[in-house]
Structure formats: structure tokens, C-alpha cells
């Protein structure tokens, strides 16, 4: 388990215990954190699980693959350098304690 903090677009925060190996999307959904729709339940096909990582953490994550990269351009909220599809990012020790910003629209 590691701690993650989800920050809503309006600033509200949810701190959760995240199980290693799950995707960040699965953690948010299973803990009832709002702000992630995940319409395709992790198939990397809907772009409704968009989140923003801080630049420092982004570099610790496995690289964005071509498919995710293409999909991120079509997310409902603007992409920024920290954008990821949360279903494609696994919980690891490397992201323990991270704050994850949610967009205002999915």
C-alpha cells in the first residue's frame, strides 16, 4: 500500500491507500474518488480517465506509448505536460505520496 492524494478541479482532496499493481484509475474508482469516468474501464479507448501528474513525478512513470499519446490529444480537458490516462499508470513505490490533479471535465 502507498498513499496517493487526488485533487479535484475545485481543490477538494481525497487521500487514499492504493494497492501496488492496480492502475491509478482502479484505485480512484474502488475508493469512490469522483472525477474519473473511465467509460471503457481501462481499455485505453475512451480518454475519460485523464489526470495530471507533477512534472517531477511524471518523469518517474513508464513512458507514454503511442496509443495513449494519441488518445490524450482527444481528452475533454486540455492536455498538459503532466497528462496521463490513469488506467495506463500502475501504482508503484515510485509514486508513493504523490498528488494527482484531476481535470474539470472528462
Amino acid at each position: 500500500m502507498v498513499k496517493l492524494t487526488f485533487v479535484q478541479a475545485d481543490g477538494t482532496e481525497h487521500q487514499v491507500d492504493a494497492t501496488l499493481g492496480l492502475s491509478v484509475m482502479q484505485v480512484a474508482l474502488s475508493q469512490g474518488v469522483p472525477g474519473i469516468s473511465a467509460e471503457c474501464n481501462g481499455s485505453a479507448a475512451c480518454a475519460t480517465c485523464h489526470v495530471y501528474f507533477d512534472a517531477s513525478v511524471f518523469d518517474l512513470l513508464p513512458a507514454v506509448q503511442t496509443h495513449e499519446d494519441d488518445m490524450l490529444d482527444f481528452a475533454a480537458s486540455d492536455r498538459n505536460p503532466g497528462s496521463r490516462l490513469s488506467c495506463q499508470v500502475q501504482v508503484t513505490e515510485a509514486i508513493a505520496g504523490t498528488r494527482i490533479q484531476l481535470p474539470d471535465l472528462q
Binding site: 469516468s37 467509460e39 471503457c40 474501464n41 481501462g42 481499455s43 485505453a44 479507448a45 475512451c46 480518454a47 475519460t48 503511442t66 496509443h67 494519441d70 488518445m71 490529444d73 482527444f74 471535465l105
Partner: protein, 393 residues
């Protein structure tokens, strides 16, 4: 104590085909899963139950040894799970990425639409099923797949024959033969086109399969092309017609999109929610379990009625109304989970960004032909079977 799966014997296929929504309402009010005699399936109609199913694909599998689809089309990705599914899904992904669709296929779709509109613009009247939506969807699919020398009527005929074969529960030999002929014809056009795609990689689906990261056998390619021919033609066609039907029967909403074309994406999402082109798809229960209060047994066959979930009153206010101004909200027209429609972004652009907006721009004063009636039919697949309209030529 959970109760048994309730049975319903007074819902006929004719009732479902004519207007499934009152039947869906009855089933939804009754239980999480209801055995409907005529459909020979346990129908699941509640939005939250379908989400539950899609999040637990080990209990609710797509793999189905009894599936007629396997007999008619071969064993495609739609009837596989886990890694076997993932390998084939990953293989086709490059052709379906939204950026690839926008840069490569959208300009091709625009040309198809404009040529069809050139052909009818002077006429002032048409049935948009034959004159526009069916040829549009068929030409587009030929381009997406990367087939050579295939006419749009051929592809439309094969698609229908294959789908009739998949629904041939009565084992009618004529239907089975037509499906077999269509399947053979598709094999021949694949054989013809494949060498070109093997030689040079390109954005089409056949090329993506030919250059799959995990090498595909010819039977995998054939089955997946057939499933895409069966499932990639009628749905965009029906979404085009339902979008237009919704707008033309709600002049205030038509005026709103004419004034603000950015509403076209909302038109598309609302159309596929309102009358979902795929109303039902199957799943198989892999172990004894319960859904809501309803106990299910290993081997039970479920009919996942996304057409019903998309009108679930616990999720949507005034669910039977076509209303493009609804708040943005998740619907299940593309399914959810591992089999979430691969063609979602193709359909959004083809229908929502290109076909419908261009048609409305071109055909001034477009309106329903009040002398004729709009026919809407189907429950497994549903859409207008005719859309007679007039415009100022």
C-alpha cells in the same frame, strides 16, 4: 434470500422489434436479470448492473463455445477474453486511434459524403437510408479496411448476410448458405488486398493486422475482418439516421445546432443514447454468482441490453426524450470494459463531425416528408429503416 431469475413469457420478438422500450421498462422494474422466453436469454437492463458486469469480465465472459458468431465468422476478438483478446485488440488499435482517424480517414470520409450529396442535392427529396446513410457507411468501411475493387452494395450485402447468419437461431438453411457465401466472398477480397498491405504499411485495418506485433494467422485476420464488416457498417449508418431523425422531429434543437455547430458532438452522443444502434450484446456467466438480488448459474446466457440502460430513469431524466441539451453524462452505447467499441472515435468523427453536419449544411430547408412515415425497427440492432425527407432544391 435471493430469489430465482424471474421468467417472462408475454414479451414477443415482434414486440421487441417494433418498440423494445416498454418491454425493457418492464424487465428493468422486475429484477437485475429476467429470463425472456422469446429471446431465450436472461436480459440485463439496469445501468449499474451492466457496469458491474463490465468490470468483472472473468465472471461475465465474452468467450462462448455455443456462439453462432464463431460458426459464421470464425473465432473473432469479440468472442475472446484476456490475453487472446488483448493480442488481437492491440493489433487493430493503430487504425482506430482518434488522431489517425482525424488525419488520415476524416478527409476521405468528407470526400465520400460530398460526392453522395452532389448526387442527390438537386432532387429535393430522398429516403436518406438508401440515398445517403447506407452508402456512406459502406464506402467508409471499405476505406478503413483497405479493401480493393469492392462496391458499396457488395459490402452492405455481405454485412447483412453475416449478421443474419449470426442471428439464425432457427438454423434456416437459406440464411446459413447466404452467410457462407458472404464469408467466402470476404475471404477472397482479403486474399486479394493482403499482399499490398504486407508490402507497405499504412493506416488501414488490414495493414494493422498484417503488421501486428504478435503475428496473426490468416484465420484470425479473416474472423476479425468479418466481425468488423458485420459490426462497423450498420451502426454508423443507424447513428446517422437517428441523429437526423431526432433533429428533424425537434425543430428547436435543429435550429440550435444550425446556430452553434459545436453542438454536433452532443447530437451524436444523444442519438446513440436515445436509440442505441447496438441494443443488446451477449455475455456468459462463468460461475455461480448474484447480480443485484438475482442469483445466476454457471453457463447462464445474458443479453446485455445497453439500449435499456441508456434509458434507465435512475440515470437519465426524461429518458425517452431526445434532448441534445442534457448535461454531459456517460452512456453505454459503445459498451464498457475490455470490449468497449474499438470504432468509437471512427464513429464520432464519421457521423458526428462529418456526415451529419455536412448534410445539414448542404440540404437547405431539410424536413421530414409528412406524406410518408419514418420506420424505426429492431432491438438487438435498432435504427430507422427509412427516413423520407424533403429539402429546397
Amino acid at each position: 434470500m435471493p430469489k430465482d431469475v424471474p421468467h417472462v413469457s408475454d414479451i414477443s420478438i415482434a414486440m421487441l422489434t417494433d418498440d423494445p422500450y416498454p418491454c425493457f421498462d418492464r424487465v428493468r422494474d422486475r429484477a437485475s436479470a429476467v429470463w425472456v422466453d422469446s429471446a431465450r436469454l436472461n436480459l440485463v437492463t439496469r445501468f449499474d448492473d451492466i457496469m458491474e458486469i463490465e468490470r468483472n469480465h472473468h465472471i461475465f465472459a465474452s468467450t462462448n463455445p455455443q456462439s453462432l458468431m464463431n460458426t459464421v465468422m470464425g473465432h473473432s476478438l469479440m468472442r475472446k477474453d484476456d490475453e487472446a483478446h488483448q493480442i488481437e485488440r492491440k493489433a487493430i488499435e493503430p487504425s482506430f486511434r482518434p488522431g489517425v482517424v482525424k488525419q488520415h480517414f476524416a478527409p476521405i470520409f468528407s470526400v465520400i459524403v460530398d460526392e453522395l450529396l452532389d448526387g442527390i442535392a438537386a432532387k429535393g427529396q430522398a429516403d436518406l437510408f438508401d440515398a445517403f446513410a447506407a452508402p456512406m457507411a459502406s464506402h467508409a468501411l471499405i476505406e478503413l479496411l483497405g479493401l480493393d475493387g469492392v462496391g458499396w452494395q457488395d459490402l452492405a450485402r455481405w454485412s447483412q448476410a453475416l449478421m443474419d447468419g449470426v442471428g439464425n437461431y432457427g438454423a434456416d438453411p437459406d440464411i446459413a448458405n447466404r452467410a457462407k457465401d458472404a464469408s467466402d466472398a470476404v475471404d477472397r477480397v482479403i486474399d486479394k488486398a493482403l499482399p499490398r498491405h504486407l508490402k507497405s504499411k499504412n493506416p488501414t485495418i488490414l495493414s494493422s493486422m498484417a503488421h501486428a506485433p504478435t503475428l496473426h494467422g490468416i484465420n484470425q485476420i479473416r474472423a476479425n475482418v468479418k466481425v468488423i464488416i458485420g459490426g462497423g457498417l450498420n451502426e454508423p449508418r443507424d447513428a446517422i439516421l437517428t441523429s437526423l431523425h431526432g433533429l428533424l422531429s425537434h425543430p428547436d434543437q435543429l435550429a440550435a445546432v444550425r446556430a452553434d455547430p459545436s453542438l454536433h458532438s452532443a447530437v451524436f452522443e444523444e442519438a446513440v443514447r436515445w436509440v442505441s444502434p447496438i441494443g443488446m450484446y451477449p455475455r456468459r456467466v462463468t460461475c455461480d454468482t448474484t447480480l443485484g438480488e438475482t442469483p445466476l448459474k454457471e453457463g447462464d446466457q445474458l443479453g446485455i441490453c445497453v439500449g435499456a440502460a441508456n434509458r434507465d430513469p435512475s440515470r437519465f431524466t426524461r429518458p425517452n426524450d431526445f434532448d441534445i441539451h442534457r448535461p454531459r453524462q456517460q452512456h453505454l452505447a459503445f459498451g464498457a470494459g475490455p470490449h468497449f467499441c474499438a470504432g468509437t472515435w471512427v464513429a464520432r468523427q464519421m457521423v458526428g463531425e462529418i456526415a451529419v453536419p455536412r448534410l445539414l449544411r448542404r440540404l437547405k430547408g431539410l424536413r421530414l416528408d409528412s406524406q410518408k412515415t419514418v420506420q424505426v425497427r429492431g432491438w438487438v440492432f435498432r435504427g430507422p429503416t427509412s427516413l423520407p425527407v424533403l429539402w429546397d432544391a
